[in-house]
Subunit: 355 residues, 2 copies
């Protein structure tokens, strides 16, 4: 049995601040989802602060919670999102749960965010999660890797349009992922131009390029570009993933009522615009995210000035106490952005990839 409007998120919990489940839960609830949440850790604050209290939960505790749900017939969620998971053992417990959900509900929409690292820092989790994530790909509906994670999953670097295509095809065909959203992509300028994108926004700001694809008798590829704002903040990927999952809809009936309005009000703006359901969900997620980031950045700059702290200073240049204070300034202003999460103004729209 499956309940419409019920979404499960399995991520970290921090007592204060917005990463993991703390970043995902409120926005999805705001959009009308009955959000179920299993916490994989309970920390005082996220680990970017440098110091924290609390603990990672082991696979026995997670399995015990999952089994409690199963025994009571409470695995009825029709959407699931998973993100950072603290150990290969815990991830295996999550894998078993998703397999169980998928088996009982073929229509399950599962968004897998395969959190492993990024281009700047490389792998920041136990490398033994990689084969587990690869195994989990066939259970997923949507995946949201960054370029680094997409490369790891496909076992192939992305250095050109051709190698991007190869990675997309591998994820769709070999690993049977319906929708792939590569959340940030660096390509040589010529390759970006052939895609239809560019490294800068029309006003000269540095651009992020997100590339999405869906497999439907062949590769359907699109991209979205928007100003780069998120580099200082933690929890952005978790918020993005939750918003995409909460917004994704083949039919408006798939969504709780509060999530419908923004969809209904946003007709395609041009013939080049990609109107695939996943592209629409990403468009609305990015729009909300940009509001949150603009507000977070403004508050951070204002409070930093008041506290005589430079919020942009690299963490490596800060002593332990300064680092904590700077990380605090960078916490996402999610609660303050409730109305924009619900009704975001769309400035950036997804375009079909040109080649």
């Amino acid at each position: 049995m499956c309940e419409a409007g019920r979404l499960l998120t399995i991520q970290s919990h921090v007592a204060t601040g917005y990463v993991g489940n703390r970043s995902a839960t409120f926005p999805a609830q705001l959009l009308g989802w009955d959000v179920d949440a299993v916490n994989t850790v309970q920390f005082s604050n996220h680990t970017g602060y440098g110091r924290w209290g609390g603990l990672r939960f082991d696979e026995h505790h997670l399995t015990d919670v999952f089994d409690g749900l199963a025994r009571n017939g409470l695995l009825t969620q029709n959407r699931v999102v998973t993100g950072y998971t603290p150990s290969p053992e815990a991830l295996s417990a999550v894998e078993r749960l998703i397999a169980r959900l998928r088996a009982t509900n073929p229509a399950l929409v599962y968004l897998l965010d395969p959190v492993m690292g990024d281009m700047d820092r490389g792998m920041y989790v136990n490398p033994n999660v990689l084969p587990i994530y690869r195994r989990m790909l066939h259970l997923s509906t949507i995946i949201c890797p960054n370029q680094f994670e997409a490369q790891l999953l496909a076992g192939q670097e992305i250095t050109s349009l051709a190698s991007l295509r190869a990675v997309q095809e591998k994820l769709h065909v070999e690993y049977r992922v319906p929708h792939v959203v590569i959340t940030s992509l660096a390509l040589p300028p010529d390759d970006l131009a052939r895609l239809g994108a560019s490294a800068t926004m029309p006003d000269g700001q540095e651009a992020m390029v997100l590339v999405g694809s869906t497999w439907d008798h062949g590769l359907q590829s699109w991209f979205l570009q928007f100003p780069c704002l998120g580099e200082y903040f933690s929890g952005v990927g978790d918020l993005f993933a939750a918003l995409v999952l909460a917004r994704f809809a083949t039919h408006l009936d798939d969504l709780p009522e509060p999530a419908r309005a923004a969809h209904a009000l946003e007709p395609a703006a041009s013939a080049d615009e990609c109107t695939l359901p996943i592209a629409r969900a990403v468009m609305l997620a990015v729009a909300a995210l940009q509001h949150v980031l603009v507000r977070t950045r403004a508050t951070m700059v204002e409070q930093g000035a008041r506290l005589q702290l430079d919020p942009f200073r690299p963490v490596t240049q800060l002593d332990a106490d300064e680092r904590v204070r700077v990380m605090r300034l960078r916490e996402l202003r999610i609660v303050q952005s409730a109305s924009e999460i619900l009704r975001p103004r769309v400035l950036y729209r997804p375009q079909w990839a040109r080649s």
Copy 2:
């Protein structure tokens, strides 16, 4: 240092359903509070289901999380709410935290819900929590006991208006609690009448009588009565406590912007109406709660009919599987009631006690 608009809640976490922090967090966030949450347990579902997975966290884990916050200067919340706490040891850890918060911020608003039992079931926690709760009373700003808990704390039964007054005075004067809200009170009809209240609503429905008091050079006592709707549902007290704390304001500036509108729009309706800040907060909390309960009850009846389950059957008459299904039907519809939580229609107003 203290941050306006930051509220800490220390309660249970369930993966699915609405009790403890799951009942408290979303409504307070909706009202604009940056909610910090420490979970004292992680269960699959609340224990009323009869079966569950997960664990109670011990005092070491809780202390570790609290210490992480303290070490990082993150105990800046200016509001705190605590509810059910699983053991005397865990409650002692909470007590030490509140003492620390109170010492650094004399303006802290702390709502203590001394969850111990009720008139029907008696004491349902370890009795060793009682002396700890008594010690914690002088740290509190507001307490929300039911009649059973108020009696335990004061060490005196409430059987008449005179003994009610004695209990209120004891809590205010001996235990130095500024605001006492006794959430349900059964008194002989004559005593209710002398208070100004009655056991039934004007339309004949059974009434709940809530009695509040504030000590300000003497006892200022008031009451609120409203239809009895909550008896089948779990998490109602946790939702009520969070709403009272999120709504309580001596000045409108004390509240985040989303919480202000309902206050500003509700002038006193009569000369008998009590306009103490705590009575206004309770009025708005009860109004929101009634919306949630009416919606929950309607959904429960409708789904019960569809599933051929009687949602009102006492738990003791159900086998284990039926019990789980009935408890599921009774989960609060909090997410679905977002707009009424934000802007509740006020039907029941607090009146000054007559004698």
